[in-house]
C-alpha cells in the first residue's frame, strides 16, 4: 500500500521511505512550456480542419516561444541562483539560462522562416510527404501551389496552395525542447535522451522540401544514418564512463577521476566516444562529412534552424561535459582536441574555397566556425566560457539571416543556389546584395560586426590560457576563409548578371522580420557587445 503523506513545504514521501525528487517548476518552466506547446501542436494536427491548421500552428508556436521567454525572464528576475532539480538530472545555471535565451531567440527567427509562404507559394514544405515523387499526384500538388491561391479549386487548394506539411511546427518545437534540455542536462543519460529528442524531429524535417524532393530525401537518409551511428558511439561512451565512475552524473565522473581503482582505459575510451558523438552534432572537423550534404539538401528554413540552433545546443552540451565532468583530466585530452580544432578549421577553410553552391559554402564555413568555437571551448577558463557563449550567440544570428537571404534568390526551379547564378546580384537587388555582403563580412570577422567581437573574445581567451600556436593557426584559417567570403561579394557586385539569371523575391513579413532580426543583432553585437558579453560572463557551471 503506497500511502502518501504531504509534508508541508517538502517533497512527497512514499510509505517505504523512497523520496520522490523535488521539481522546481519555476526554473524548468521554459522547457515545460516548449514541450507543452509541441504536444498542443500534435493535438491541433489531429483535430483542426486542414485550412485552419497553418494559422493555428504558427500562432501556437510563436506564442509558445513568447511564453517560454517570459517564464525565462521571470526566473532571471526572481534572482534565484543556480537550481539543480529533478534529482540532479537537470541544472539551471548561468550558462544554461544564457543558452536557453539564445536558443529561444534564434528559434523565433527560424520559425519565421519556416512559416513564410510568400517567397514560395504554399511554403517551403511539401503538402503531403507521403505522395511518391514524379507521380501525377505529386505534380498536382506542386502545380496548384504555383497558381494564385484564389485560382485553385477547393480540393487541390487543400493539398497545394494553402497546404503544406504543418507537422513541421510540432516537430520544430520538440526539437527545440530537446536542445534546451541538452544544454541543461547534468547527467549523461539525460543528455542522451535530449540528444535523441533534438535529432529525431530534425531528421524528418530535412526530408520535407517542396522542391527538389529527391535531394531532400537523400539528405534526410544521410543525416539519419550518420546521426544514429554517431549517437551509438555517444551511448557506448556513456556505458564506459558508467563502468568507470559507477554513475553517469557529470559531477560524480569528475569526482571518480580524482581517485578510483578502475582502469583509465574506461575513462578515456568513454570520453573519446562521448566526444565523437558531440563533435558529430556540432559538425566539427573530421566528423563533419554529413554537414555539406544535409545543409544543401534540406529545405533552407530547416537548414537555418540546424545551422544556428543545433550548433548552439551541441557546443552548450560540450562545454558542460568538458567543464564539469572532465576539467581535472584536461591535461590528458586537451592535445587531442587541439588536433580536432585544427582539422576542423583547415577542412572548413580549404574545402570552402572550392565550393560552387551557396548553401554548401556556408556549410563549410560553419565547419570552420565550429573549429573557432572549439578553440574557445577547450580554454577551460571563465573567459573561455563567456567568449564561447558569445560566439554561439553571434554566429547563430548571422547564419540564420544568411540562410534567410538564400531563400530569396530564386528562378523557375526554386532557389538558385549555384554561385554562378549569384553573379551581378547587386544590379538586380542592391539591398539583398548589401545585406548578404554584410553577413559574409560578419562571418569573416571584419571589425564593427559581431563576428569580429566574437572571434576576439574567443581568441583572447585561448591566448590567455596559453594556446598561442592554436590561435595563430586559427587566425590563418580565418584569413583563408575570408577569401571565399570576399569571392562571393566580388561576384555579386562586380560581375555582369546573366540574362536568364534568377530573380530576387520580395519577401513577406515573416522572412523580412527574420532577416532583419539577424542583421540587427549582428550589428548590435558588433558595436555594443558589452550587454551580451556581461550576460555571458554572469556565472559558471553548477552541478
Amino acid at each position: 500500500m503506497l500511502a502518501m503523506q504531504q509534508i508541508p513545504g517538502a517533497e512527497l514521501t512514499l510509505a517505504q521511505g523512497v523520496q520522490l525528487p523535488g521539481i522546481d517548476y519555476g526554473a524548468l518552466a521554459p522547457l515545460l512550456v516548449i514541450f507543452g506547446a509541441g504536444c498542443a501542436g500534435v493535438v491541433v494536427e489531429a483535430v483542426a480542419p486542414r485550412p485552419a491548421r497553418w494559422p493555428a500552428q504558427v500562432l501556437l508556436t510563436v506564442l509558445g516561444l513568447a511564453a517560454a521567454a517570459v517564464t525565462l525572464g521571470m526566473h532571471l528576475s526572481s534572482g534565484v541562483g543556480d537550481v539543480v532539480t529533478l534529482a540532479g538530472a537537470v541544472v539551471v545555471d548561468g550558462p544554461a539560462l544564457f543558452l536557453w535565451g539564445t536558443l529561444l531567440a534564434l528559434a523565433l527567427g527560424a520559425v519565421l522562416l519556416i512559416a513564410d509562404r510568400t517567397v514560395e507559394p504554399g511554403g517551403a514544405f511539401v503538402a503531403d510527404a507521403a505522395v511518391r515523387i514524379g507521380t501525377a499526384q505529386d505534380r498536382a500538388q506542386n502545380l496548384s501551389a504555383r497558381q494564385a491561391p484564389g485560382a485553385a479549386t477547393p480540393a487541390t487548394s487543400a493539398m497545394g496552395a494553402t497546404g503544406s506539411q504543418t507537422e513541421i511546427f510540432p516537430l520544430f518545437l520538440f526539437s527545440l525542447g530537446g536542445m534546451m534540455a541538452f544544454v541543461a542536462a547534468n547527467d549523461l543519460l539525460t543528455m542522451f535522451v535530449a540528444l535523441e529528442v533534438l535529432s529525431l524531429p530534425l531528421y524528418l524535417m530535412c526530408g520535407l522540401a517542396r522542391r527538389r524532393r529527391l535531394l531532400s530525401q537523400e539528405a534526410a537518409v544521410k543525416y539519419f544514418l550518420l546521426g544514429a551511428f554517431a549517437s551509438a558511439f555517444f551511448l557506448y561512451g556513456i556505458a564506459l564512463l558508467y563502468g568507470y565512475a559507477g554513475s553517469v552524473t557529470l559531477a560524480q565522473i569528475a569526482q571518480a577521476s580524482g581517485g578510483t581503482d578502475r582502469s583509465d582505459t574506461l575513462l578515456f575510451g568513454g570520453l573519446a566516444m562521448l566526444v565523437i558523438g558531440l563533435m558529430f552534432k556540432a559538425s566539427v572537423g573530421p566528423f563533419h562529412t554529413w554537414t555539406p550534404d544535409v545543409y544543401q539538401g534540406a529545405p533552407t528554413p530547416v537548414t537555418a534552424f540546424m545551422a544556428s540552433c543545433t550548433k548552439v545546443a551541441a557546443f552548450g552540451g560540450m562545454l558542460r561535459v568538458l567543464n564539469v565532468g572532465f576539467e581535472s583530466t584536461s591535461w590528458e585530452w586537451r592535445g587531442v582536441l587541439w588536433g580536432i580544432a585544427i582539422a576542423s578549421m583547415v577542412i572548413g577553410a580549404v574545402l570552402g574555397l572550392t565550393q560552387t553552391d551557396v548553401k554548401r559554402m556556408i556549410a563549410y564555413s560553419s565547419i570552420a566556425h565550429a573549429g573557432f568555437i572549439l578553440v574557445g571551448a577547450i580554454a577551460l577558463t571563465e573567459q573561455g566560457l563567456s567568449g564561447t557563449l558569445f560566439y554561439l550567440l553571434a554566429y547563430g544570428f548571422t547564419t540564420l539571416a544568411a540562410f534567410g537571404v538564400v531563400t530569396l534568390v530564386r528562378d523557375s526551379q526554386g532557389e538558385a543556389t549555384h554561385l554562378s547564378q549569384w553573379a551581378g546580384l547587386a544590379r538586380r537587388s542592391p539591398l539583398t546584395a548589401w545585406v548578404f555582403a554584410f553577413l559574409l563580412f560578419a562571418m569573416a570577422g571584419i571589425p564593427a560586426t559581431s563576428g569580429f567581437t566574437a572571434k576576439f573574445a574567443v581568441f583572447s581567451a585561448a591566448l590567455a590560457d596559453g594556446m598561442a600556436p592554436l590561435v595563430v593557426i586559427a587566425l590563418v584559417a580565418s584569413a583563408v576563409a575570408a577569401f571565399f567570403y570576399l569571392r562571393v561579394v566580388v561576384l555579386m557586385f562586380f560581375s555582369e548578371p546573366a540574362a536568364d539569371g534568377p530573380t530576387v523575391s520580395v519577401p513577406g513579413g515573416f522572412t523580412t522580420a527574420a532577416i532583419t532580426l539577424g542583421v540587427v543583432v549582428t550589428v548590435l553585437l558588433g558595436v555594443l557587445p558589452s550587454f551580451a558579453l556581461d550576460w555571458a560572463a554572469l556565472g559558471g557551471f553548477a552541478s
Binding site: L200, L215, E218, A232
Partner: protein, 99 residues
Amino acid sequence: MTPTYYLLLSALLFAIGAVGVLVRRNAIVVFMCIELMLNAVNLSLVTFSRINGTLDGQIMAFFVMVVAAAEVVVGLAIIMSIFKSRRSASVDEANLLKY
C-alpha cells in the same frame, strides 16, 4: 563466470555493428547494424550495473530501448520514403548531393 567476458562480447558486437555500418550498402541493413550497436551498449550497461552493484545501468538499458524504438519509427519512415521514390534502398545510389 567473470563479468569481463560480457564486456568483451559487448565490445565485439559493437565492433561488428560499426563495421557493418561502414561496409554494407542497403540502408535497412545499415540501420540494423546501428541497432546492433545500441544493443551491444545495453549489454555493457547491464554488465557494469552488475559489477558496480547498482541498478542505474539496468534502468539506463530501458531508456536505450525506448529511444531505439523511437529511432526505428523515424528511420524506417525516412528509408521507406526514399525507397518509394527510387525503388532502391542502396546508400550508394543516393548520390545526388556531392562536392
